[in-house]
């Protein structure tokens, strides 16, 4: 089992992006997916960083893929998606329509925002050329076990959501813009004010969600720290770590140490908790039923 770093969900300045991927290239993660996932309007502000980042990551021996957008509606977005294949790296499909631009016979990856809930879907994607599939974070362990075994039998890597705020929903509407009484088309890029999303609490002050433009995330940081052993046993090939603005190299390092057997699960959790916003972790989707729940005790 190894580590995949997923695409950054947030709108960061290009300097921050450059430093982030520079630091990431010095970690021991096996592979990185990068590119704009959430909003095509952001891409022109940081896209010149992508070739530099790809070069640094490949030079450091990492596998690299580029992600599609999570929700493709505009003609401009369709063209952008069609161009991804020309980059020459595997495309990670996060909106099924990206597959229309992947020629038959060209291998591709499938991201956590494609609905892979069962054997029939996994089988169809494998026959179509998928070589690596990150399952949706919502899946319970029983489903993961069935799909990971099938992936192992078919020689296709099955990943699960390992660590990071959960991508819970995607919309046509921009909630960041709405919070500023603006429409998406006149957003003035206010999502850039919140490098890890903007927190949403209930009226009783319960931490609940975080909005990131058109995306809605969990407030809690999902983490499979307590399930690594069982995920290994069922044949999960990799854990996905999702970028955040602070402490991400630490997150990569402690996860690597845990997979190498140099940190126990409680030690891992103790090191991860200070990096999570408000110290809140969850693993309910995998471990139980309610996504927001956490199977470990309070620190």
């Amino acid at each position: 089992m190894d580590l995949t770093v997923g695409p950054n969900f947030f709108f960061w300045p290009s300097d921050t992006v450059r430093e982030f991927y520079g630091r990431l290239s010095r970690t021991t993660v096996a592979r990185v997916v990068l590119g704009e996932l959430v909003c095509s309007k952001r891409l022109p502000f940081w896209q010149e960083e992508i070739p530099t980042a790809v070069e640094a990551l490949i030079a450091a021996g990492k596998e690299v893929a580029v992600t599609s957008l999570a929700l493709i509606t505009l003609k401009r977005e369709r063209n952008l998606t069609a161009d991804l294949i020309d980059i020459g790296l595997p495309v990670e499909v996060n909106d099924l329509s990206a597959l229309a631009h992947v020629p038959l016979g060209t291998p591709f990856w499938v991201g956590p925002l494609v609905n892979v809930y069962n054997e029939g879907t996994l089988n169809w994607l494998i026959r179509r050329g998928a070589t690596r599939i990150c399952l949706p974070p919502e899946l319970p362990l029983a489903s993961v076990a069935v799909l990971a075994k099938m992936g192992r039998d078919e020689g296709v890597a099955v990943e699960v959501w390992g660590h990071g705020r959960l991508p819970l929903a995607i919309s046509g509407r921009c909630y960041h813009a709405r919070l500023h009484d603006r429409a998406k088309d006149s957003c003035q890029f206010v999502c850039g004010d919140d490098p890890d999303g903007r927190e949403v609490e209930t009226l009783d002050g319960q931490p609940f969600l975080a909005v990131n433009g058109v995306q809605t995330l969990s407030q809690s940081t999902a983490s499979v720290a307590h399930q690594v052993q069982v995920l290994r046993e069922v044949g999960v090939a990799a854990l996905r770590l999702s970028p955040q603005s602070k402490g991400f190299t630490t997150i990569c390092d402690v996860w690597s140490q845990h997979l190498a057997g140099r940190l126990t699960a409680p030690e891992l959790v103790a090191k991860l908790r200070p990096t999570a916003p408000a110290g809140r972790l969850s693993d309910g989707f995998l471990a139980g039923t309610v996504g927001a729940a956490w199977s470990g005790g309070r620190a």
Binding site: N115, N123, R198, E199, T202, L203, L209, V290
Partner: protein, 326 residues
């Protein structure tokens, strides 16, 4: 005339919809295979066969939604639903899952396949992919598109398109939302429910009624005031200095006045949400929309305001069909 596709949660609602002028009625089996898996709703295999006979005798069609995502290790439940739908003589099945579409195309090639809104096929590339790979004949468009975008889609696809015009409104791309399972453990994709009633708790606190879903407060209303159902994305929350309906107000969709533009955009069928609704509600809405599509076909103006009192919380929106909504 545009086809009017109407909801039925029970055989009685189906008969009411047909009698009120529905061209097609959509419904589901009483299990986790459909996205309105509520207690006391939906059809047994026998109900379905009788419903088809009733509808066909009156010139109406029956479409069966098998539009949740089959659970790994339990696909035969969904496969049986497909067989049962075909044996009942239904006119089409409405599917969302790739694996189930592939199974239906291989094993039930003569059973007409529609793509559920739960598949969120939001552009021509996606729609054409589903058409080519699985022989899908009609796509229910996700509620993230403007009328202009729907028009552009119809210029690039061969299959029919169907859009929602009335009822509950998802603000997230459908089939791509796990907010409900994050709070309650039950989701539209896996369980066919959103913000399920068994996870709702009301509590009188001072002068307010608090509505909670899975323990998360969704809204507080003054005692005695109408309290909308605590659907997660229509809740009132706080973010920094702001408190309000961060995702969407407790509104429902009413696109009646857009019908002429939707017709011009090439839309084949108009869909009414509400399989959980009563048969009298269904009958009223269907009658009003039948009048509207007849007016559209005749080039007459749209009837105004007939449905205002049926909309949730008395407020209606045209949702994503107007660009400003985004």
């Amino acid at each position: 005339m545009m086809e009017l596709v109407c909801p039925a949660g029970t055989p009685a609602a189906l008969r009411a919809a047909v009698d009120a002028g529905a061209h097609s009625v959509y419904c589901g089996f009483a299990d986790e295979t459909n996205a309105r898996n509520f207690p006391g709703l939906n059809f047994s295999p026998d109900d379905m066969a009788q419903a088809v006979a009733y509808a066909h005798a009156r010139g109406a069609k029956v479409l069966v939604a098998i539009n949740t995502f089959p659970r790994a290790g339990a696909e035969p439940i969904w496969h049986r639903a497909l067989s049962c739908a075909e044996q009942s003589g239904v006119d089409a099945v409405i599917l969302a899952d790739i694996g189930l579409l592939a199974h239906a195309a291989a094993r039930h090639p003569k059973l007409r396949r529609h793509l559920s809104v739960q598949a969120a096929a939001a552009n021509p590339d996606a729609i054409n992919l589903y058409a080519e790979a699985f022989g899908v004949r009609r796509v229910v468009l996700p509620r993230v598109l403007t009328v202009e975008e729907i028009s552009a889609i119809n210029r690039e696809v061969e299959v029919e398109t169907e859009v929602f015009v009335f009822g509950g409104l998802c603000v997230m791309a459908e089939g791509r939302c796990s907010l409900s399972s994050y709070a309650t453990g039950q989701s539209p994709n896996m369980n066919g429910v959103c913000s399920p009633a068994e996870h709702v708790a009301y509590s009188e606190e001072g002068h307010e009624l608090a509505a909670r879903l899975g323990g998360f407060t969704i809204h507080r209303t003054p005692k005695g005031a109408p309290a909308p159902y605590p659907t997660l994305c229509k809740g009132c929350f706080t973010s920094g200095p702001q408190t309000g309906h961060i995702f969407e107000d407790p509104v429902s969709l009413d696109a009646t006045r857009l019908i002429p533009r939707l017709a011009k955009a090439g839309v084949s069928a108009l869909k009414i949400e509400g399989r959980q609704r009563s048969r009298s509600y269904v009958a009223q809405v269907v009658r009003a929309f039948r009048a509207a599509v007849e007016a559209q076909a005749a080039g007459d103006p749209m009837p105004e305001g007939a449905l205002a009192r049926l909309t949730e919380g008395q407020a209606a929106t045209t949702g994503a069909y107007a660009k400003r909504w985004r």
